[in-house]
Amino acid sequence: MIRRVKVMFQEVFAQRRLLWSLIQLDLRKRYGASFMGFFWSVINPLLQILIYTFVFGYILSVNVGGNAGAKNYGIFLFAGMLPWIAFSEAIQKSSTVILENKDLVKQVRFPVMLLPMHILLSSFLHEMIALAIFVVILFIVGQGPPLLAVGLVALFPLQLIFTLGVGLIASAFHVMYKDVGQLVNALLLLWFFATPIIFPLSLVPHWLQTPLLANPLAPLISAYRAALLGNEVPHLWAFIYFAGFSLVVFLIGVTLFHRLSRDFADLL
């Protein structure tokens, strides 16, 4: 299994230029396709954050700790949305990426793994842009991120392999079973509310906290908040849990994708 992962990385490394071209292509489709491409790609998540902030921060006045209020809630939400949007977008797009590029898979010889991978990296780049915007906002509201924010960089590899693992599983199964597309959407919706993104874990009834913490994304989101907002740093065990979970999902994803991708050209 380790050898397979090594082979995979070698393949991808050998084709890194193609990977980069695919990412550029995706970014251009995202930002360049319509008149105000970049604007739309930012405005939609921003609008989502503003609406949630209005509903939960202002109308429902959810207490996220610190000085309660819409401003705090907005920032609290934004920090959680950053990794979530990158994750969910990557999963959603990787689940359909093989089918969308079926001519390529059938007619051109290249490591098919590049397709979900370029989606992952393109979503990640997009998150980095959003992160930069967020840091600017933090300075504007006079709540510059603590020095710990630099530690976020250490978390990125884990976030990437976890997302890649889930993405590979989704994309491989979607080729075999078209229903997976719908299933992924349903699961992501469920996952969104099962992750402390729009609410802090402290507001969750005690009996629900442990099951929610089993969600591997929970430590990730908490870590983002700790790094960007100076919230409480999650326990070391949470990190170990997330790292272990990511590694397992990643290995399953790579193995499964590797196995099934041999038949992609015939099944499409």
């Binding site: 230029r17 390529l104 059938k106 041999r262 038949d263």
Partner: protein, 414 residues
């Protein structure tokens, strides 16, 4: 070192005809198989030398594209070995890797990246590709404004300018305009001279005959023939002719079906057996044009009948009467017959060309009735089939009529 070496290549496609079959395989962890296997290629072996141009021909669905896809590496073989000496370039579907929203120029860069080229290499190639494609200033227009032929031209231009040792082309040559086709043929010839190996699949026999040294003929996934271009084209054309004129068991031409099943007979006499005998006196249904053929009809006259007319007809697979003969036309008076008889009708030279033919045999009260009244003593229609084979010098069409050719120079022709 061979340019392409294929050994015992077999490819099965899995056919899932029902929903849920794939899922059943998943939950049984592939221990049980629920799909049907469709064999697209069956035990193919061949070698291609460097500098050779080899064509693949065959009917639709005979496995041409599958073979090229496997050689290009986009789909994996089920069994067998493939070795390719050198770098491969391929053009399986010209539009692949092109994005309609982007300009031709950008698409060339994308496609080159897909084919494994670094940006500096692409920049070097770009002018040649652009020039070859003949797109001119349209290269900077979005690809969605291109005609189908223009897309092919650009795809082809990229595929042949990417450095390669082996080039695989699937069925695209005849799409471009005439000028472009000539350019392609010239380019392919030039590649051959430089020791590059080219493999093309095509339906256009004239295309492959123009520049292929050898051909592979595929028939339902099997290698029917490999050899010199002329020999394989001839074999394939002949095979198509044969199938076009062949008769499948129990297939009676539609417009004669009603007629064939509703013939009233007078009784009195019955055809017992019909045999076909070749020049050596052997019973067979296979004959060669221009050789002897005898039809032997055995019949029983239960009551005494007077001078019946015995008629034999050869009909093409579509029911057209090709050849007919009867005892009245030949002035033969059979007299009063009662009991068992056999009549022999001998054709010293059966002058009809390749195909399957129905043979109708009938015993009629007289010739006139055989045309109009349709009430024979007995008749066997569309019951016998003979197969006739021809050789090339026999000519084409339906009728064998020996011909001689002469060439005269016209010195002072005005």
């Amino acid at each position: 070192m061979k340019a392409i070496s294929v050994r015992n290549l077999t490819k099965d496609y899995r056919i899932y005809s029902q929903r849920g079959q794939k899922f059943k395989e998943l939950i049984t962890l592939n221990r049980r198989q629920f799909h049907e296997a469709k064999r697209a290629l069956h035990d193919i072996s061949f070698d291609v030398d460097p500098g050779e141009c080899i064509g693949v021909i065959g009917d639709n669905g005979s496995g041409k594209s599958t073979l090229l896809k496997i050689l290009a590496g986009t789909t994996a073989p089920t069994a067998g070995d493939i070795e390719i000496g050198g770098k491969v370039s391929y053009l399986l579907d010209p539009a692949t890797g092109f994005n309609p929203e982007f300009s031709g120029r950008e698409n060339v860069h994308i496609k080159c990246a897909l084919l494994g080229l670094a940006p500096p290499q692409t920049n070097e190639l770009f002018d040649v590709v652009h020039d070859f494609s003949g797109l001119g200033e349209r290269i900077d227009h979005p690809m969605k404004t291109y005609s189908a032929g223009m897309v092919v031209r650009l795809g082809f231009a990229v595929a042949i300018h990417v450095p390669f040792d082996v080039l695989l082309i699937d069925e695209v040559l005849s799409v471009g305009d005439y000028l472009f086709q000539r350019k392609c043929v010239a380019a392919i010839r030039a590649f051959k001279d430089h020791g590059k190996t080219i493999m093309v699949s095509s339906h256009s026999l004239s295309d492959v005959a123009t520049f292929c040294d050898r051909l592979i003929l595929l028939n339902q996934g099997k290698m029917a023939m490999i050899g010199g271009t002329d020999a394989v084209v001839q074999a394939y054309v002949r095979d198509c002719d044969r199938r076009f004129t062949s008769i499948e068991e129990a297939r009676v031409p539609i417009h004669d079906q009603a007629l064939a099943c509703c013939v009233d007979t007078l009784g009195k006499a019955a055809i017992l057996a019909v045999h076909f005998i070749d020049a050596e006196g052997k019973e067979t249904t296979h004959f060669t044009s221009g050789t002897g053929l005898t039809v032997r009809v055995r019949f029983l006259a239960e009551e005494e009948i007077v001078n019946p007319c015995i008629r034999i007809q050869f009909l093409r697979n579509d029911g057209m009467l090709v050849l007919g003969s009867n005892t009245y036309r030949h002035g033969i008076d059979l007299g009063r017959v009662k009991g068992h008889f056999e009549v022999l009708c001998h054709f010293p030279s059966i002058n009809i060309l390749e195909g399957d033919y129905y043979v109708n045999v009938g015993i009629w009260p007289d010739e006139y009735q055989s045309f109009v009244a349709k009430t024979p003593y007995d008749v066997h229609e569309y019951r016998y089939i003979v197969n006739i084979e021809s050789e090339r010098p026999h000519g084409g069409g339906l009728v064998l009529s020996p011909s001689q050719w002469t060439l005269n120079r016209l010195e002072d022709f005005k």
